[in-house]
């Protein structure tokens, strides 16, 4: 579904991604680990097509189509949806209004808001004065309304308190896997690329493949749980020295 080929990206004149390659198959949930500042968010923002992320080399393919130069709207229409780590404030735009225009289905919007305990936020301006957890829930609400095929989730668990993590985790699970049980997801399911710094989200979702990003490149890939164990045990420093060698670099 998603293929990244040798992607080089500059932000503000600085080279941030230096040859990233990875892929996400339809129905798969892949996770991206990596220390702060390694370029994980940059990769997601580039896949979505935000300006300021300049692709100097390489390609992004979505369902076989080269979308590297495509406007943001077109990518969204083809089925890519993002949960941003730091979305902007939309002063004067209510969350309700935004969810309505994205979903075109009011019933769905209000039901989803209930599920995320966001009903009382619908009147509020999008992201203005939201706590970390509220931002995540608001992003999930918008994504549910949008209903994409490929979810790009940037640290869904970070800054979320213990009560909300359950809500956020279950919702992510529901969005990615639907109600069908693990192992049966197959081609019908949604695909996802999920950034996690701590790996906490793995308690809630079935991840198929993991990648570790360091300093703008993917160092290794493999079974996400095994990768997480190694990272927890050794820390990212060891990972940078990168002798994990669980599998070869993709």
């Amino acid at each position: 579904m998603l293929e990244i080929e040798d992607l080089h990206v500059e932000v503000g004149g600085r080279r941030i991604l230096k040859g990233v390659s990875l892929s996400v198959l339809a129905g798969y949930t892949n996770v991206l680990f990596g220390p702060n500042g390694s370029g994980k968010s940059t990769l997601l923002m580039t896949i979505m097509g935000f300006s300021g992320y300049k692709v100097t080399h390489g390609r992004i393919l979505f369902n076989g189509e080269d979308i590297t130069q495509m406007p943001v709207t077109e990518r969204a229409k083809r089925g890519i949806g993002i949960m941003m780590q730091r979305p902007p404030n939309l002063v004067g735009v209510s969350l309700e209004n935004l969810v309505k225009v994205t979903s075109k289905d009011k019933a769905l919007a209000s039901g989803a808001a209930q599920g995320l305990d966001m009903a009382r936020f619908l009147e509020r301006d999008v992201n203005v004065g939201f706590s970390g957890g509220e931002i995540k829930r608001s992003e999930l609400l918008q994504l549910e309304a949008q209903n994409p095929c490929l979810y790009l989730l940037d640290e869904p668990e970070s800054g979320v308190d213990l009560v909300s993590i359950e809500r956020v985790g279950s919702k992510v699970r529901e969005l990615l896997h639907g109600t069908s049980c693990a192992g049966r997801r197959g081609r019908a399911g949604k695909a996802a690329l999920v950034i996690t710094h701590t790996g906490q989200i793995l308690d809630y979702i079935e991840a198929d493949r993991g990648y570790v990003m360091c300093n703008g490149t993917v160092m290794c890939s493999g079974n996400p749980r095994e990768l997480l164990q190694e990272i927890s045990k050794m820390g990212y420093e060891e990972c940078i020295k990168c002798k994990l060698k669980l599998t070869t670099v993709n």
Partner: protein
Amino acid sequence: MQAEADHRELKRKAEAAREKKAAFGEDIDLETFRSGSKDLERVKRLAELDEEEKRTLLQAGVLPTEEGRSGSFVLMDESVVHASSKAQGVEVMPLKDALKVHEWLKDYYWKGVSPEADKFTARTYLEGADGYFIHALPGTKVSAPVQTCLMLKGKGVAQSVHNIVIVEEGAELDVMTGCSTSKGVERALHLGISEFYIKKGAKLTFTMIHNWSEQIGVRPRTVIVQEEGSTFINNYVALRPVKSIQTYPTARLEGPGCFARFNSVAIAHPGSELDLGTRAVLSGEGSRCEMISRTIATGGKVIARGQMVGKARNVRGHLECRGLILGEGGVQIAIPELEAYVPDLEMTHEAAVGKIAQDQVEYLMARGLSEEEAVGIIVRGFLEVGIRGLPENLKREIDATMERTDMRAI
């Protein structure tokens, strides 16, 4: 015969000010305009107006059905076409009639605005202009607004208007004024004197919707005099093309504990020049003032002025003006001014001008909206902040006006 002596004195001053240029705004040659007709026929109900006239009213937020209004007043050119009140304790009548009925009204007539301020006030004085008189008796509280419409009908007309609103002690009143131009009127001028008096503990919410057209010049002159503990809420909306507007309503918060808020939203289309100021002079102890302005230049020019003058202890004020430039050719000039004449007060301002934030637009595009849709939503939100905090019913009116105006040029 003090009144006559007063009149002679004012007349002399007005005569002397016939050529006096205004402090702000492009000069306008008054000789090239004729007076508006003063003898158009009156109607008992607005429903009796013709369809075209009704449409013109509606565009400025004035309902021809008069439903949900506690009174209505319509001026076309210089003729009062309708004046009525449905609410107990609220008088709505032509100012000239009111001056005959209420001997005391001379104590308010031209006491806020002075005839010699500039050529526009002078002309209005010398014309003996008519307009609305709206009077809320002490303690009267009406929730439904009194609606008024000032309409330009004749080509090449200079419409002079003089309005007085008095809200007596403890009363609460909403007034909506829609200004509008009939179809086919190209070049014309509107001169409007407004004097508002808000007595002890009283509240006036005044909403002005400017819905002029491309070749219209507009020079309103407004002064608000506030007594102890009174509240004034001013909402100004100008979303349609116009040639030139220059206005600088001034609230005089004279009593202690007064509050005034000015909300303004405006769009300067190509060819429009909007010189929009708001001024508050706070001379009553502990008085407060807020000014919020949201303007968009889509090719035209906006000058957003704001002035707060603090002359008493414990005065507080905040002035916030933001201007967006959309597309090429637009100009935004923000001029906030704060003046403090005593130490124990606090007044602040923030001003920002620039283009729409790209990250916000793209955030919405990432939800599948087109760039145009995304810009539309953000611009609506931007303007929305300018009218926030209004009573719900008024907000709905303004929203509806914005909807009708739509964002064609954006």
